[in-house]
């Protein structure tokens, strides 16, 4: 997977789970995104795992995350070239 593919897929998952036509920044999280609550974070993490074929740590499901922190967690595991 190329870095461009990675970014496109990552963005698609955010749009699918959190809302359409919203421009997300890396520091966006539950404080700044209306739909981002604990259930949505669980769904977001599962969807990222499914689409990238990776397994994220339990803390990704439970702990406070941002777009940027999730992006790093997935990137470390999916290793786009």
């Amino acid at each position: 997977m190329t870095l461009a593919d990675f970014d496109a897929t990552f963005e698609e998952v955010l749009q699918d789970v959190l809302g359409w036509d919203v421009a997300f920044a890396d520091d966006d999280g539950p404080r700044t995104v209306e739909a981002w609550d604990s259930l949505m974070q669980v769904r977001l993490v599962h969807e990222l795992e499914t689409r990238f074929g990776v397994r994220l740590p339990d803390d990704a499901l439970l702990g406070e995350q941002t777009v940027g922190s999730l992006r790093s967690l997935v990137r470390e595991r999916a290793q786009p070239a």
């Binding site: 036509d21 609550d37 604990s38 499914t50």
Partner: protein, 507 residues
């Protein structure tokens, strides 16, 4: 707040009633008690019956112009929070600025989005599952929900059988101005609700997301369906399902469903007779039938107290305390009382007096289950009502029982939350209520300087309240926490006056 940037669409208030919910249950075949039975619903994280998500989606679709509604063949729905029967939600719909055949819609209340929907007329081929045949296996529709053991569900598992939505479904769609909706999509919404609520995961389920498509040529009448588990994740109970609905004349709908299951609760082993301690006096536990309250009741019995446990709704849960009390059952009295009702609390006080045992302790543990919310000018009234409701369940029993509290070794326990130190964004009402309660505890310490007043900042525990996709992770055993806390109270670890007790560090 980042949300949809397009110009805010005019909002319309929708109020789905209990009657609508009953009709949808009959029409869809989704008789899951989460929607219909207050006693069952009380033992879920929602605490009360909730509207079928698919019914809420039908009501929202009814806000679209009839011409556009009729053209729709694809739906994507995301369920973010429960819609409550009889409570108004704000519906907003609008066309997609960039793709004119697409529509979006939202339902909001409690300062947050509860449902998000995207609908379009078609275009690309529907995402057909690879296994197209709905087959001949499986039985008739269920009358009662399956109680699937989550741990036993694996990718590849299948459920198949008959499915038919009742004629009331079209009537219900008319009632919500959605009669122009493609019958295949309407039926698919009802069917998805049936699948999750009755088949997989069945009894203890939560519908989180749907993708539906219809070829747009559905003829009414009985159909067959086949559902396959694509993914099952034991960490959160998440299931990803693919399904297909077909009638004699051909395919009716294809679905991709995201759902969550909750684990079964495990019955407690009875307290052994050998643990009988010396009689300590009487304790009243308000909110004692479930979760942490029930765990406290059992630990207090074990420590030698006579326990009067109050519960409002959960009679079956309260009755489960009797076998769990084992050898101590004779020292357990159950009282069905609304803690906000002064005359009810008075009856409990009379029962304590009659028992002849001095009242040593009062546990104030009742709270209405908090549904996630955010603070907006519109939701602030709901927040204030929640605080008032919560505080009533503490202040009324406190006022009624304080005069009875003996002078020897008296104590009061106020159940607060560790969330006071790390406030979750979705619980402003819960935090405000616990803050008010802690203030009341300070007053109680001033009024009764001889008593040990304990504010316990309870950790996240495995209870009905946390029986949700994210809730159960990282939660500790309520029994273990209760046992530890009762040890602190029954021992001499605490001084008279005001004490804040934090939970023990996890082992």
């Amino acid at each position: 707040m980042r949300s949809r940037p397009s110009a805010p669409a005019p909002e319309r208030a929708l109020r789905i009633t209990t009657d609508d919910v009953e009709r949808f249950a009959a029409a869809s075949g989704d008789h899951n008690p989460l929607h219909l039975d207050p006693v069952f619903a009380r033992r879920t994280a929602f605490g009360q019956p909730v509207v079928h998500g698919a019914l809420a989606a039908v009501a929202l679709l009814g806000c679209l112009p009839a011409g556009s509604l009729a053209a729709l063949r694809r739906l994507r729905v995301s369920f973010a929070g429960p819609v409550l029967p009889g409570v108004a939600v704000a519906a907003a719909v609008g066309p997609d600025a960039r793709r004119p055949d697409r529509w979006w819609g939202t339902l909001s209340a409690r300062g947050k989005q509860l449902l998000r929907l995207e609908a379009w007329s078609g275009g690309e081929a529907p995402p057909e599952p690879r296994w197209l045949d709905v087959g001949r296996g499986g039985g008739p529709m269920r009358d009662t929900p399956a109680d699937v053991e989550l741990a036993a569900v694996a990718a590849g598992d299948e459920v198949a059988g008959e499915y038919g939505a009742g004629a009331e479904l079209a009537e219900l769609a008319r009632r919500w101005d959605a009669q122009a909706l493609d019958p295949g999509l309407l039926e698919a919404l009802a069917w998805s609700s049936y699948v999750v609520g009755m088949e997989l995961p069945g009894l203890r389920s939560l519908l989180a997301g749907l993708r539906l498509s219809s070829p747009g040529s559905a003829a009414p009448g009985p159909a067959r369906h086949r559902i396959r588990v694509v993914q099952a994740d034991p960490r959160t109970g998440r299931l990803l399902l693919e399904g297909r609905l077909a009638g004699p004349a051909g395919p009716r709908a294809v679905a991709s469903i995201e759902a969550f299951g909750r684990p079964r609760s495990v019955a407690r082993a009875p307290i052994a007779a050998s643990s009988t301690a010396a009689a300590q006096g009487a304790v009243v536990v308000v909110g004692g039938s479930r979760g942490f309250g029930a765990a406290l009741v059992l630990s207090l019995l074990e420590a030698g107290y006579g326990v009067h446990a109050l519960y409002a709704v959960s009679r079956d849960a309260a009755e489960e305390l009797r076998p769990a009390a084992g050898a101590h059952v004779a020292r357990l009295s159950l009282h069905q009382v609304d803690a906000r009702d002064a005359s009810g609390v008075e009856r409990v006080a009379a029962a304590v007096r009659e028992s002849g045992e001095p009242l040593r302790g009062v546990v104030l543990n009742a709270a209405p289950p908090p549904l996630g919310m955010r603070v907006t000018s519109a939701s602030a009234k709901e927040l204030a009502d929640y605080v008032s409701d919560s505080l009533g369940r503490v202040a009324v029993p406190l006022g009624g029982l304080l005069p009875l509290l003996g002078r020897q070794g008296a104590w009061m326990l106020f159940s607060s939350t560790a969330a006071m130190a790390e406030p979750p964004l979705e619980w402003p009402h819960y935090l405000a209520a616990k803050g008010a309660m802690e203030g009341l505890a300070r007053w109680a310490a001033a009024a009764r300087p001889d008593a040990r007043v304990v504010v316990f900042r309870a950790p996240k525990m495995q209870t009905d309240l946390t029986s949700s996709p994210s809730g159960a992770m990282g939660a500790v055993s309520a029994d273990a926490v209760a046992h530890w806390l009762v040890g602190r109270i029954a021992g001499d670890a605490l001084h008279p006056g005001f004490n804040v007790v934090d939970p023990p560090a996890p082992a």
